[in-house]
């Protein structure tokens, strides 16, 4: 197995994973989207809401705000010793109170949420939650749980995680007519000394549309894929850094496998 990191920032990553099966790549992708637990607001106690948003809408907006989570500090609620009733090991309490008073307009942002745990904070501070006008008021307590993305999108840590196979494009018997250069929608084919060619960096941009292959009158181009090599792109919603999320996803798979191993040895 080999990994070549192309881009890695706080919230997104792009890397080439090679020497493994599509099943493994797909497992990592699915785990990032649905199996890595994160914190999200699940229960909201509303003490006062005179804004124009219904309580339910307000609760949904709060739920979708990503909270910075840590796999070490919290356990998913279904695995917690409290058996889902809620305890400090699986829940965090946050409060939000805002009032427009005499002012004409006050926009409440996610940064105004006060968390009881300094490590659990809204990942983005400038998400508008509600628009209060003169005299309107919101007071609430929100309880965040650790949950899984397969239950609700608010617990989904990975965004737009996907992979494609590594393209393998060969030019054989090319007469440098240049038709394929114009046919390529991504403009990555260039005329070289002897044949048309694609530079190594540009090859990653190929969408495998095969328009170049179809455009060639003498069938000199063949477009194929490397079935054991994948170009992975992923983004994180902010609850984990991109790097943590990838590792958490693989650790979750490993956790599932170890659990199964333990059960199998007792059978």
């Amino acid at each position: 197995m080999e990994i070549d990191i192309l881009e890695l920032s706080d919230r997104s990553a792009k890397f080439i994973l090679s020497g493994t099966t599509a099943a493994f790549a797909n497992g990592v992708r699915r785990a990032m989207l649905a199996d890595v637990p994160t914190l999200a607001i699940d229960d909201v106690n509303i003490y006062n809401n005179t804004s124009v948003l219904y309580d339910e809408q307000l609760a949904l907006r709060l739920g979708l705000i990503p909270l910075t989570s840590s796999l070490e500090d919290f356990v998913p609620q279904d695995k917690c010793t409290c058996e889902g009733s809620g305890c400090p090991a699986c829940t965090v309490s946050l409060t939000l109170s805002a009032e427009a008073g005499e002012e004409e307009q006050v926009i409440v942002h996610s940064g105004d949420i006060v968390s009881s745990d300094p490590n659990v904070q809204p990942a983005d501070k400038n998400i508008p939650i509600i628009d209060l006008r003169t005299g309107q008021k919101v007071v609430l307590e929100a309880i965040a749980h650790m949950g899984y993305g397969n239950k609700h999108a608010k617990w989904q840590a990975g965004v737009a995680c996907g992979y494609k196979n590594m393209p393998v494009i060969t030019f054989e018997g090319c007469d440098r007519c240049g038709i394929c250069v114009n046919a390529c929608p991504r403009n990555i084919i260039q005329l070289g000394e002897e044949t048309a060619e694609i530079s190594k960096d540009d090859l990653l941009k190929c969408s495998l549309c095969r328009l170049c292959q179809d455009s060639c009158d003498i069938d000199a181009i063949s477009v194929g894929v490397d079935e054991r090599s994948f170009i992975f792109t992923m983004e994180s919603d902010g609850s984990y850094t991109a790097q943590q999320l990838i590792l958490n996803a693989v650790n979750t798979i490993k956790g599932k496998a170890s659990e199964m191993q333990n059960i199998l040895s007792t059978l």
Partner: protein, 62 residues
């Protein structure tokens, strides 16, 4: 209110809404602003382009 996340991919988009509206109001091209804010996918871009802030109409009422 602008939805917190993109309906399709789940990216958190609401955080850029105020900057987007301010810059578009100042006369910038929406496409250029979205490019600048790093919204590359068309699912996220339509969230901004197609959004009508109904809360402005509703807000005086309770």
């Amino acid at each position: 209110m602008i939805p917190v996340r993109c309906f399709t991919c789940g990216k958190v988009i609401a955080g850029s809404w105020e900057e987007y509206t301010r810059r578009v109001k100042d006369g910038e091209d929406p496409a250029a602003v979205l490019d600048d804010l790093n919204f590359t996918r068309y699912c996220c871009r339509r969230m901004f382009l197609a959004h009508v802030n109904l809360v402005d109409i509703m807000a005086p009422y309770q």
